[in-house]
């Protein structure tokens, strides 16, 4: 049985913001939230459900030729949208690779980028630093599924398959809160533990993600997402890469390579991107970029295997675009 909480289902966004008092939590799809409540990862006095706010659902054309996705749009809806599949294949593949059919039917794109860490110490009965304790148990403990980049004080990996694609596509995250609406680049939405290990996103008190805006992509832009996992389905990434590249006259112009499963945030690797600019995408340039992508990785005692896996994932993703 879940612990007790009040339940509010506001009809409007402004009411939802008003209801989001300090110990209230947003209920989007609920797939992550209810698990956290059941396991006592955190508590909530009140759940504020967004399910009656129709404006948060659906995929629409945005200004300047982009596409806007409401935060409450399910992963299944995003995965089956032909505009997303044609113009933003990296995102389409990311959401398709996430979770299971049932979870994709329930989980939302807004909730997906607000997931709490899946670290088994954080989810388990350990009073770790992120839960107000004194240390990260993964640093010295069972860390085969933890990060090789950007840990420093807390070594979880960001669980989302959509987020790396959103960063690679230079998407904007729309947010509404007590002081109005704002937009944050997907790249700046996620918070590194070294900056603040008590939260994963820049959302402030009373703020709600209301949607994602995907900018129009220049002609000749291609993208993909490669996810490596232990099972063929329904598993988190051990390593992965979202790649979006604009190719003109056979040469790479703008390129974004963002890693999944290896850092507490979607991890962009500008060094690897620089290797490719002005080059033709070939086995040779892809291998060189993949090597640059893992440069500086700092594996823990049990997860050095991720480095090779990651190099392979980046290489494969790049060659898919060649």
């Amino acid at each position: 049985m879940l612990p007790n909480f009040n339940y509010v289902r506001p009809a409007t966004l402004s009411d939802a913001v008003r209801q989001l008092t300090p110990n209230a939590r947003v209920h989007a799809g609920g797939t992550d939230l209810l698990g956290c409540l059941r396991d006592g990862v955190f508590t909530a006095d009140t759940l504020v459900s967004l399910s009656a706010i129709e404006e948060l659902r659906g995929i629409r054309p945005a200004l300047d030729g982009g596409v806007a996705i409401g935060a409450m749009t399910t992963l299944t809806t995003v995965a089956s949208d032909s505009r997303i599949a044609e113009r933003y294949p990296a995102l389409s593949r990311g959401v398709t690779a996430a979770a299971s059919p049932q979870l994709r039917n329930q989980g939302t794109i807004g909730g997906n980028i607000c997931q709490r860490p899946r670290c088994w110490y954080y989810r388990g009965e350990f009073q770790c630093a992120r839960k107000g304790g004194e240390k990260c148990y993964a640093a010295e403990g069972e860390n085969q599924f933890h990060c090789v980049f950007g840990g420093e004080v807390c070594f979880y990996v960001h669980p989302s398959d959509a987020a790396p694609a959103l960063v690679a596509l230079e998407a904007m995250v729309r947010i509404v809160g007590p002081s109005g609406a704002r937009s944050v680049a997907a790249d700046a939405f996620f918070v590194l533990p070294s900056k603040d290990y008590t939260r994963e996103t820049v959302l402030g008190p009373g703020e709600i993600v209301t949607g994602i805006v995907l900018p129009a992509q220049p002609r000749g832009t291609y993208g993909t997402y490669r996810k490596v996992r232990a099972r063929g389905a329904w598993d988190f990434a051990l390593a992965g890469a979202a790649v979006v590249a604009t190719i003109a006259e056979g040469r790479v112009g703008r390129v974004r390579i963002v890693l999944s499963g290896v850092a507490p945030i979607p991890w962009r690797v500008p060094e690897a991107e620089r290797v490719l600019v002005g080059q033709r995408l070939s086995a040779k340039s892809a291998a060189k970029a993949a090597a640059a992508a893992v440069e500086g990785a700092e594996p823990l005692a049990q997860n050095a295997y991720k480095v090779d896996m990651l190099r392979g994932a980046v290489e494969e993703a790049l060659l898919e675009l060649a």
């Binding site: 289902r9 009809a11 698990g35 979870l103 039917n105």
Partner: protein
């Protein structure tokens, strides 16, 4: 609360069934909060912690009005309040799939869905796939293909298959594998389960509901 018993129980000539008895006992509470009425435009639905609120659910084509605490999952309400025990409790954290039901025709985990969130949606459980006394096509296919050993995951497998076939009536083997990937079978009957889904597709095409 009337209408607690499923069709089989109502047909029972033995008087009070065990399941019927327990659900009737659970139905005594009165004096509810105000969530159950249709949510008026511009108005928030509110339910207080620990207090049963009136909720209207539509399950297998039938309307139920019942008292529900905010923290109760749809799975709990189906099994423990309505006696619809087709959906099974397994992991109770969205990891095994045996609680799968259809919500508005698509498979979801009843264990990670709050009952209050299911209001206003069409819920289909395993019981809802019956054709009167007869098994529905997916159920029949699982029987014919021997697609189970212990059977605990089977209700969820059948509901996942039903959802898959509603969205994609003629799936390829790969599509079946993907579509069924949210349901674990610890006996490892997967090969037979995939065959059963193919069979169910044929039975449905041949005129099964």
């Amino acid at each position: 609360m009337g209408g607690k018993k499923d069709d089989n129980e109502r047909r029972s000539s033995r008087g009070v069934t065990r399941r019927g008895f327990f659900t009737a006992v659970g139905a005594g509470a009165v004096g509810a909060a105000a969530i159950g009425r249709a949510q008026a435009p511009g108005e928030a639905a509110i339910a207080t912690a620990g207090e049963p609120a009136k909720v209207a659910l539509r399950i297998n084509g039938r309307a139920y009005r019942l008292l529900v605490e905010p923290r109760w999952t749809l799975l709990f309400v189906l099994r423990e309040r309505l006696g619809l025990s087709g959906a099974k409790a397994g992991c109770e954290r969205g990891e095994c799939g045996t609680c799968t039901v259809l919500i508005d025709g698509v498979p979801r985990y009843a264990c990670t869905t709050l009952a209050v969130e299911a209001e206003g949606h069409e819920i289909t459980t395993l019981e809802g796939l019956m054709n009167g006394d007869k098994l529905g096509p997916v159920q029949q296919a699982f029987l014919e293909e021997d697609a189970l050993q212990c059977g605990y995951c089977t209700p969820g497998q059948i509901m996942a298959a039903e959802g898959l076939l509603r969205a994609n009536p003629r799936p390829t083997l790969d599509e079946i594998r993907t579509g069924m990937s949210g349901n674990l079978c610890r006996c490892g009957a997967y090969t037979h389960i995939f065959k059963a889904v193919q069979k169910a597709s044929e039975l449905k095409k041949a005129g099964g509901r």
